[in-house]
């Protein structure tokens, strides 16, 4: 991004937009920004106000964690606060892995650039960066995707929160089912192997069966243990296949 600021900004902007990584990034950014409407609407349906909803998109800025937080608050209210924080945090653990992968690609500046890079380190920016074949395109893909999604996601979150605020009884509009469908949409692309499929089914069963006996929010965390156990021993994993 820094290169575009000095002389010949116009020429370098043209070159940037011609790069395949930038095109990928903008396309992914546009597609992802639209999710923001569902997040905004679901968040106010869960009981957060418009400011709290926008705060999450600005500061937390990691969709899965944001959906998780409002999902747990929707089912358990403020009493499930600790579980909501834990669920958001656990879903954010994958960003640690993304940060480790992206560091050698984007971390060529000082602490400010590193902070900005980590802020926009999410599924999509990492995925676009990793899909490129050379390092320069990776860097472009990462930043274009991250910034495009950041801007779009925040604008559409605000729009969704205002829509959600205006429509009143959210159950009559099926927003609770929309939340489940949104989680399913986040999960779907990850169901590529026997291992992930088995973990998904087992976690869903554990969460459903523990819901009547545990405090709201806790079933989601108990289900996370399935992932730790299966992941630790690599049950049903690649080791057997190769």
């Amino acid at each position: 991004m820094g290169e575009a600021a000095d002389g010949g900004a116009d020429a370098s902007r043209k070159r940037l937009l011609k790069s395949p990584a930038a095109r990928d990034g903008l396309a992914v950014g546009l597609a992802t920004a639209v999710y923001g409407v569902s997040f905004g609407a679901l968040s106010v349906a869960a009981g957060l106000d418009v400011w709290q909803t926008c705060f999450l998109s600005l500061i937390m800025f990691t969709g899965g964690s944001q959906f998780a937080l409002v999902g747990v608050v929707a089912s358990g209210g403020v009493a499930a606060g600790a579980s909501a924080i834990a669920a958001a945090g656990l879903l954010g653990v994958r960003n640690v892995v993304y940060g480790m992968r992206m560091k050698p690609v984007v971390d060529t500046g000082g602490p400010w650039r590193r902070a900005a890079a980590s802020w926009v380190t999410i599924d999509e920016s990492t995925a676009v960066a990793l899909a490129q074949t050379d390092e320069r395109q990776s860097r472009i893909g990462f930043w274009v995707t991250g910034v495009a999604i950041f801007v779009g996601w925040n604008l559409t979150t605000l729009a969704g929160a205002l829509i959600g605020d205006a429509i009143g009884d959210t159950r009559a509009w099926g927003l609770d089912a929309a939340a489940a469908a949104a989680f399913l949409g986040l999960l779907w692309p990850r169901l590529k192997s026997l291992q992930t499929g088995a973990v998904a089914v087992a976690a869903a069963v554990v969460a459903a069966f523990t819901t009547p006996v545990l405090m709201p929010g806790l079933p989601v965390l108990v289900a996370a243990v399935v992932a730790v156990v299966v992941g630790w021993f690599d049950l049903l994993g690649r080791r057997r296949a190769t």
Partner: protein, 101 residues
Amino acid sequence: MTIWHIVILASIATLALKLAGYAVPASFLERERPARIADLLTVALLAALIAVQTFGDGQAIVVDARLPAVIVAAALFALRVPFVVVVIVAAAVAAGLRAVT
């Protein structure tokens, strides 16, 4: 605890995780186990949230208009229908069923 506390604490936690990734030495990544567990954690939590969001009603498990809506959503995702369209259709299915029952 208020909703603001939840929102701020959770935001600090997730942001700290993002920063932590850039602070971890790269050799840690060469170990497969942490990466695999992080991946599977995401899968497990999303699946658990789907279950709770579909069947949960406070601490009760109920089957209502949400289940057909989620089944329709799964079929549409399998057909590669875009995310936003699926979410809207799922809401419409649940809203429609509730309107007629």
